[in-house]
Symmetry: C2
Subunit: 300 residues, 2 copies
């Protein structure tokens, strides 16, 4: 099951770092641009270049990482060619022995949630044979529609030994608008979401559940309470680096073991070279290794 | 702007009916299956057949409808070919003078919300020229992440004279788990979401806003209160037919005018022939016309 698979992988790679892939076609590494195809539609040429950029980024950072987290929006905006690029990038990550966490924050009524499960984790029966899905090892999900909307997604993930990370408290300033809203029973809404996450998960021998939580690293004050409410959940911790979060603040996440927290970073790794003229791959690898070591040194 | 565009279109077509497109490859009309391509991968053959099915469904039901609502999950599960089929189906709907409401219930942090806006409403700048998005006239969105996560999506929509329908109170039983939860200030969470919708929208000469609400038709008891909280919002009303909602219960939605409520139906139209042996297209057209007339006859 997912919790155990993840714990093994984190131990083997000595890393809790997740490489975020949210490629902006206007900000790709020069080597990818130079190898761009000379013909095709803008979407086709951009998608091929995005794929080359992501492959190079994976090649650079993979030794310091346990997973990649492609941001689906960044591929979807390039249409069919973008989706083909996404599949290719996921394949490249798997070949580098990285897990794939599909970040699409899906959430819909039960019949549609089952369709998303087919797209992300399983396959879709058709009269022409099964159409394979993305084969993700985990995906992010939005809990606003309630338990019956999450259950088909979790069931589909579980069948593939994959996991689901449910939004509990996100890293953007607007999280105060809804997630932090005070409930009649006391406590903010996100505490109710945390209880739902704890309830929906199945716990493996590692002590980790297959239903985790997206827990924004920009509000570390909440991590202690989150850990109390979700003792077995893996926390996916976005917001490190570009969004202002610091690895050093994340210790409570790792209380159930090192795989209890996954630190995600995207732009801070991909753009590590900045305008310094340094090699993009080397700068990315150094920044990924710095983040990996900082997280690994923490004691929950 | 969207509210005015919609009001004009509803008046011209004398319809508030939205044809939901959530094709299941195992349940396509026989004529589409018979015309399926003989070669290609399962996803390619299924996507071509799904596109043919949706085109036939649009041809049958279009005279009674004002818009189509493709369910993005149903196309995404067929990968790149599925996304190409989605684009083709949207083009076919536009040629039939129908609006396109992309139903993906997206919601993400601001930088990602901007990428979704490019994918749905705008285009994506690339070094090879702009990559066009889906060109949707409206899309559904999830408000859990708060205002700053909705604003880039709304800004992108507004630039294209498109609209955003924000989840307020959905039609699934699980809506009680989070959306109906009682807040410390009194009232359920969905009332807070309704106030946010009212606040985010811009109102046109028609009296309708460009930010609407997804308001499940399975809980009509809420519609009066919703209309009070969102006097200018267009309500997208799923749940009619297969999910148990009845057109007759929806009158409060239409208080600001006939375009104040859009009645969506998917399976009840596509599967109207059932196992009766009747022609699928004729049965779909008759059911769509029945729903159209029932909604049009209501007085808000």
């Amino acid at each position: 099951m997912f919790g155990d698979r993840l714990a093994q992988r984190v131990a083997a790679r000595e890393s809790q770092l997740v490489l975020g892939l949210d490629p902006d076609p206007q900000r790709l590494w020069p080597a990818a641009l130079e190898a761009a195809p000379a013909t095709g539609s803008p979407a086709e040429r951009a998608a091929a270049t995005v794929a080359a950029h992501c492959r190079a980024l994976i090649d650079a950072a993979a030794p310091a990482c346990v997973a990649v987290k492609p941001q689906l929006a960044c591929f979807e905006r390039l249409g069919g060619p973008g989706i083909a690029a996404l599949a290719e990038v996921c394949e490249h990550a798997r070949a580098a022995e990285l897990l794939v966490i599909a970040d699409g924050k899906r959430g819909d009524v039960p019949v549609t949630a089952a369709a998303y499960a087919q797209a992300l984790f399983g396959s879709t029966p058709t009269p022409f044979g099964d159409a394979p899905g993305l084969g993700a090892d985990a995906a992010t999900a939005n809990p606003l529609l309630g338990r019956d909307a999450l259950e088909p997604l979790i069931a589909g993930a579980r069948e593939a030994e994959a996991g689901v990370f449910i939004l509990v408290r996100t890293s953007n300033p607007g999280a105060v608008d809804v997630e932090d809203r005070e409930m009649a029973v006391g406590g903010p809404l996100w505490e109710s979401l945390a209880r739902m996450v704890d309830d929906l998960g199945q716990v493996g021998e590692s002590g980790l559940s297959d239903v985790g939580a997206v827990a924004g690293a920009t509000a570390p004050i909440h991590l202690v309470k989150m850990r109390e409410l979700m003792p077995h959940a893996v926390f996916l911790l976005p917001g490190v680096g570009a969004q202002g979060g610091r690895v050093e603040d994340l210790a409570p996440a790792f209380r159930p073991g090192r795989a209890g927290g996954l630190v995600t970073a995207s732009r801070s790794i991909a753009n590590a070279a900045g305008d310094s003229g340094a090699d993009h791959g080397q700068a990315a690898r150094a920044e990924a290794e710095r983040l990996r070591a900082a997280a690994w040194a923490l004691d929950g």
